[in-house]
């Protein structure tokens, strides 16, 4: 007779919510959080009429956004954003610091949510084969495809 019986603790009713999520952030989630907090950045654009910028951010594992990069370059406004970012919070996550990019649209005295948001992806060349040197892995991947990498 098998002795495998569930313990009383293991047999207790399950709580379906909340479930621990995988803490990886997809662009849709990031966009939602950024759009909800655009107001905190508006003070940095109050001197403008209408303008468009591309905003790059680094998002740490703790959800803190730092290192704003504005395009076109505007050092003064970028410094203002660096301070304003302290008001923003994103969910903590499992990944390395994420590089994200979005578009800031300044119209009629407010930042208008824009759907563009991208997350920089890691290059992953050779899968299912363990090669510790990433350069060697990349070269093997290229050779496998019949296009040897240039030195």
């Amino acid at each position: 007779m098998m002795l495998w019986l569930l313990t009383p603790a293991l047999a207790a009713p399950v709580e379906l919510d909340p479930a621990p999520p995988l803490l990886y952030l997809d662009p849709a989630t990031l966009r939602q959080h950024l759009h909800a907090q655009l107001g905190a950045l508006e003070t940095c654009f109050a001197d403008l009429t209408d303008a468009d910028f591309t905003l790059g951010l680094t998002l740490g594992r703790d959800g803190v956004a730092t290192e704003p990069i504005l395009t076109p370059a505007d050092p003064g406004r970028q410094a203002c954003l660096a301070s304003a970012l302290a008001e923003l919070s994103f969910p903590p996550h499992h990944e390395d610091p994420l590089q994200i990019e979005s578009i800031l649209v300044w119209r009629a005295g407010r930042l208008v949510p824009h759907p563009h948001l991208t997350v920089a992806t890691r290059p992953v060349d050779l899968l299912f084969i363990h090669v510790s040197d990433p350069d060697v892995a990349s070269a093997l991947w290229a050779s496998l495809q019949g296009t040897p990498a240039e030195d």
Partner: protein, 258 residues
């Protein structure tokens, strides 16, 4: 996933109404050790000059109950809390990351979510699908002095278009009751896989052998396996072949409420 294993194995003796009770959401902590050897060669014209490599990992892994899905499947989050390179003692790239294994209560793994975050240089999670049979062995119903065969098939998909599916057939035997309420189980099996990676054909074949020990109090107390396989990537430039041998062990160190 661990709870799935208990569930299936326990089916042999538990009354039906008890089996229908869901399991409590406990976080299960395991000490994980993994050692692997890799030997790589080129075939079909592919020139490869690469010496043998090893991978050694030591650390703590936590299994937490994840979401329950509409189709009845259940997610289990496998988190690498601390993980160091066993050779250098330095933190490994998998440390702090997690995946979710989604499976039916039969033990059939339907999906591995988050694998893209474990793959690639410095992480190598794409070759660590051996953790699936380690933490989610599909144990058939077993009685005393019986053998039983289980078949399972699980996807190892990093992103769409980059993955393979593993088919594993194993024969299980019930071992001794190593202590009161603690049972040993042994299994041996064959595996093969087939898939593609951006047009490169992926295939593998190999063998797996493992031992499980569980207790009435703690569930799966120990899981160990040796998995050896030959992985081949076939492309226009030739075939890249790697012999992979994994020795892995997970030992339960504690259970707690999340």
């Amino acid at each position: 996933m661990m709870t799935t294993w208990l569930w299936v194995w326990a089916c042999a003796t538990l009354p039906q109404q008890r089996l229908q009770q869901p399991l409590a959401p406990l976080d299960l902590g395991y000490d994980l050790t993994l050692e692997a050897q890799f030997s790589t060669r080129g075939e079909d014209g592919l020139q490869v000059d690469l010496g043998p490599e090893t991978l050694a990992l030591q650390g703590r892994v936590t299994l937490s109950q994840g979401p329950r899905y509409r189709d009845g499947s259940l997610g289990t989050v496998l988190r690498f809390d601390t993980l160091v390179d066993g050779a250098t003692g330095e933190p490994h790239g998998l440390a702090g990351r997690a995946i979710e294994l989604r499976a039916f209560e039969s033990g059939e793994v339907l999906e591995v979510r988050g694998l893209e975050h474990l793959a690639g240089a410095g992480r190598h999670g794409d070759v660590l699908d051996v953790l699936i049979p380690l933490f989610s062995p599909k144990v058939p119903e077993l009685g005393r002095q019986e053998e039983a065969v289980s078949t399972t098939s699980y996807p190892v998909t990093v992103v769409e278009g980059r993955g393979h599916r593993v088919d594993l057939v194993a024969r299980w035997t019930l071992g001794p009751e190593v202590a009161r309420g603690i049972q040993a189980v042994h299994y041996e099996g064959q595996l093969k896989c087939k898939g593609s990676d951006l047009g490169i054909r992926v295939s593998c074949a190999g063998a797996v052998e493992g031992d499980l020990v569980g207790s009435r109090q703690d569930g799966l107390a120990r899981s160990a396996l040796r998995l050896s396989r030959t992985v081949a990537l076939q492309g226009p430039g030739g075939t890249l072949v790697q012999e992979q041998v994994f020795d892995a062990e997970a030992v339960l160190v504690g259970a707690s409420s999340p």
